[in-house]
Amino acid sequence: MATTEVRPDLTPSGEIRVMSPYRAKWLGWFTTTDHKQIAKMYAVTAFFFLLVGGTMALIIRTQLAAPEQTLSLPGLEVTEQVYNELLTMHATVMVFLFLTPMLAAFGNYFVPLQIGAADMAFPRVNAFSYWMVPMGGIVLFLSYFTGGPAAAGWTSYSPLAGPQFSPGNGVNLWIGALAILGISSTLGAINFIVTILKLRAPGMTMLRMPIFCWNMLIQSILILFSFPVVTAGLLLLWIDRNLGGAFFDPANGGNVILYQHIFWYFGHPEVYILILPLMGVISEVIPVFSRKPLFGYKAFVYATLSIAALGTAVWAHHMFTTGAIDVKFFAATSFLISIPTGVKMFNWTATMYKGKIWWNSSMLHAIGFLSMFLIGGITGIFNATGAIDFAIHDTYFVVGHFHYVLVSAALFAMFAGLFYWFPKMTGRKLSERLGIAQVIILFIGVNMTFFPQFALGLQGMPRRIQTYADGLGWGWLNMLSTTGSFLVGTAVLLFVINFFWSRKRGEIVGDNPWDAYTLEWATTSPPPYYNFDALPPIRTERPVFDTNHPDVLAEDEEYDRRVSSHPL
């Protein structure tokens, strides 16, 4: 019974206790198995790497701002070698050390809370998964001290990444880091699946589960089936490099294209691995701030399932120009995957219809996500045709396309989630004023950065070039893009400032400041070590809301009955 004012999570002065049974505060960070604390560690690590990878991006953009230049920064001259290292490390850091851990952070904090569990299924495995992330980061960055990092792109296509053309330790450490991070993700995925399948509170049926948890579940299944593949592929590359293997060496019976198949069999699902949880975040934020239930809950679940299923059959659309695959087949599957993606777009938009939309930082970020993801999705159609891809593959058009999805849309969704859940994690709200400034700057920034890249790609600028000739007309578009990238950097810094300010001085809000729907809002902010001392009855997809608004319970129950009785 929580009517008593005993808050085991607070000190007598109202300070938040470290939610760990261990006494020493600093030791607690190393020994904790609490999913919330691990989530925070994931988030801090991910944000650190966002700043690292973002700095690399700014250096890359500055180098490209003007034609025929080699940028000279204090202590760093962006030569061809340095440029290739930067583009490799930027992508690796952003994909494996920023986005993946950031999603693990969201999942770790909110999956147990949303399903009414006390912790993850395997808390110690969870801690182990986390600690492998900084480990992987250290291994990756060790290469800077042992003769230079990998410079063969984040795809590390063989033979370029093979022993002959990338001697030295860079690629070896890159393989090691990815293997470590891959195992971390795989163990994390197993943990999420078991948690979701086994630890749901009584009453929390699969079809009453928040969409965020659904998306984490499906993401975890994708991880489980794609990460081991790339781990195996990378080990083959390692054997080629260090033990004289010939897997990808055509002179000795090896097959160059095989590497690309293995890599993209993982690489494409990876895109969905990175975006599905963020779609889940958006599916939480938009209904709450529209004051309406999610439009088409069931459609969302099936759309996500079909995206995951199709996502395993589209990988070779990254290989349309290799001349070694069936372009038509993969064009067909790639087209198909746009249908469920579209269904999601329409459902989000329809959720806002006739709502009472609460214009706050979180919701505005979510609207930004919809708007950006739409551009990312539609430009994907051009690639999916196969035919048009012959022109735009490996040009800045593709760079623009995937950055719209993985930067523009992903950052908006991530910030939407952080503004939405920050009160739950700290008991305080992030500053709205800074938040709205951030939305505006970020919106202008990402569009200014990535929209010109479509034009550059259509004009024939290949990606991954250190510089380009004068007189091609690419200079001003690149300058525009570079200017925008600094705006993106400003928006991210604004968030960092907002975070540190609001942590201490943000407005103190109650346990459920948004009058939100799902179980995490049924406990205190921040939640105690054991998460819940009581749960509301779970009869629908939004138990907390129904408890607070008994007038809509009947309506929600009616919908719940329909969903549960006809799963198809």
Binding site: E80, N84, A151, A152, G153, P159, L160, Q164, F165, N255, V256, I257, K292, L294, F295, A299, T321, T322, G323, A324, A331, A332, F335, S338, I339, G342, V343, M345, N347, A350, M352, Y353, G355, K356, I357, W359, L370, S371, F382, T385, A387, I388, F390, A391, H393, D394, F454, A455, L458, Q459, G460, P462, R463, I465, Q466, T467, L472, V552, E555, D556
Partner: protein, 368 residues
């Protein structure tokens, strides 16, 4: 209700989008102007996809912003909840079906274009062999051979002027792509096409330029350090100009192959180096009738020497050399003194590696 006010925003937004569309339409919807037959078809598809995508973009984007603005919570609103709509099955079916139809149409159109560009003729008008290497290109014309059986070649040298591939207009040209090191990608932006140059694969494609001009091309697959410098040009000329160019190039190549202008005696000191079991020069020259010196720089820790023979067959046949330098291990530089040799065309080889290391040795009258 300030309805008129809230409506203005989506309208303004729509106008903005239309303005952007007009701007883009002015320049081929952003894409470069195609100069090949295959490229024209691809550009047509691009325009269809562009406008279809643009329409979807405009509709959905306007819908998003319209909803967000029209249904925003206002100050005067009470705390009551809006209608709790859970969904609509008919709408779900509708917005699954319509995109499905669009996608099927686009797929059929793509199918046609893919078939078109992937078609490889058994009897093309001309063949070009493209060799990509770190970090330049060599183009050879297998149909145009020299007297020694080698095809006419245009070679690129890193850091110098990029190579220019000269081809006739309105001819089906079959490009065959080869690489012996890493993966490259042969990309001509104005052909709207690229194909990877993959070691171990023999990728081919047909291309028909329908416009005369000079077009830029570039490697599009990260291939190591100087990837950005792997630029080339394609010069499309009329049939007549192409024949004239070919005749000129062939003459120059024949001269080159037979020793050429570059290989004339210039003083009594001849320099040659050995590296990677190769001589750095294919042709040496010295004046006739006077003693001269060969400065031999053996740059590797392998036995090499320089010897001069009467003919190419003399060394393998075991005939005596006109001059035989001492065999030694590098890295070391040795100066051989050679006795006078009468004018004529000779051969030089390394006695240790006679098949890999050989070249022509011209003994003639000094220049001027």
């Amino acid at each position: 209700m300030p309805r008129s006010k809230t409506r203005r925003s989506p309208v303004a937004y729509g106008l903005g989008i239309l303005g952007l569309a007009a701007l883009l339409a002015g320049c081929g919807a952003g894409q470069v102007e195609p100069v090949t037959e295959q490229g024209n078809g691809l550009h047509g598809l691009y325009l269809i996809v562009f406008w279809m995508g643009f329409a979807i973009f405009a509709i959905v984007e306007i819908a998003i912003f319209y909803m967000a603005i029209r249904y925003r919570r206002r100050k005067q609103d009470d705390e009551s909840l809006p209608p709790q709509i859970h969904g609509n099955d008919k709408l779900e079916i509708l917005w699954t079906t319509i995109p499905a139809i669009i996608v099927i149409v686009l797929f059929v159109l793509s199918w046609i274009q893919i078939t078109n560009v992937q078609e490889v003729s058994a009897d093309p008008g001309m063949r070009v062999e493209v060799q990509g290497f770190q970090w330049q290109w060599t183009f050879s014309y297998p149909d145009e051979t020299l007297s020694n059986g080698e095809p006419v070649q245009v070679a690129g040298v890193l850091g110098e002027a990029p190579p220019t591939l000269v081809v006739p207009v309105d001819t089906v040209i079959q490009m065959s792509l080869k690489s012996e090191d890493v993966i490259h990608s042969f990309y001509i932006p104005q052909a709207l096409y690229k194909l990877d140059v993959v070691p171990g694969l023999d990728n081919k494609f047909d291309i028909t330029f329908d416009e005369v001009g000079r077009f830029r091309g570039q490697c599009a697959e990260l291939c190591g350090l100087s990837h950005a410098q792997m630029v080339f040009f394609v010069e499309v000329v009329t049939q007549d100009d192409f024949r004239a160019w070919m005749t000129k190039t062939r003459t120059a190549a024949e001269r080159e192959a037979s020793g050429g202008d570059k290989c004339k005696p210039e003083g009594t000191k001849v320099e040659v180096a050995a590296k990677n079991v190769k001589f750095d020069k294919e042709c040496l020259a010295a004046p006739a009738g006077t003693p001269f010196q060969i400065v031999f720089d053996n740059q590797e820790a392998i036995d090499h020497n320089v010897a001069i023979y009467q003919s190419e067959e003399a060394q393998p046949a075991g005939e005596a050399a006109l001059f035989q330098g001492e065999i030694f291990k590098g890295p070391k530089e040795v100066t051989y003194d050679v006795d006078p040799i009468p004018a004529g065309k000779y051969y030089f080889v390394c006695d240790v590696h006679p098949t890999a290391m050989k070249g022509t040795f011209n003994i003639g009258e000094p220049e001027g």
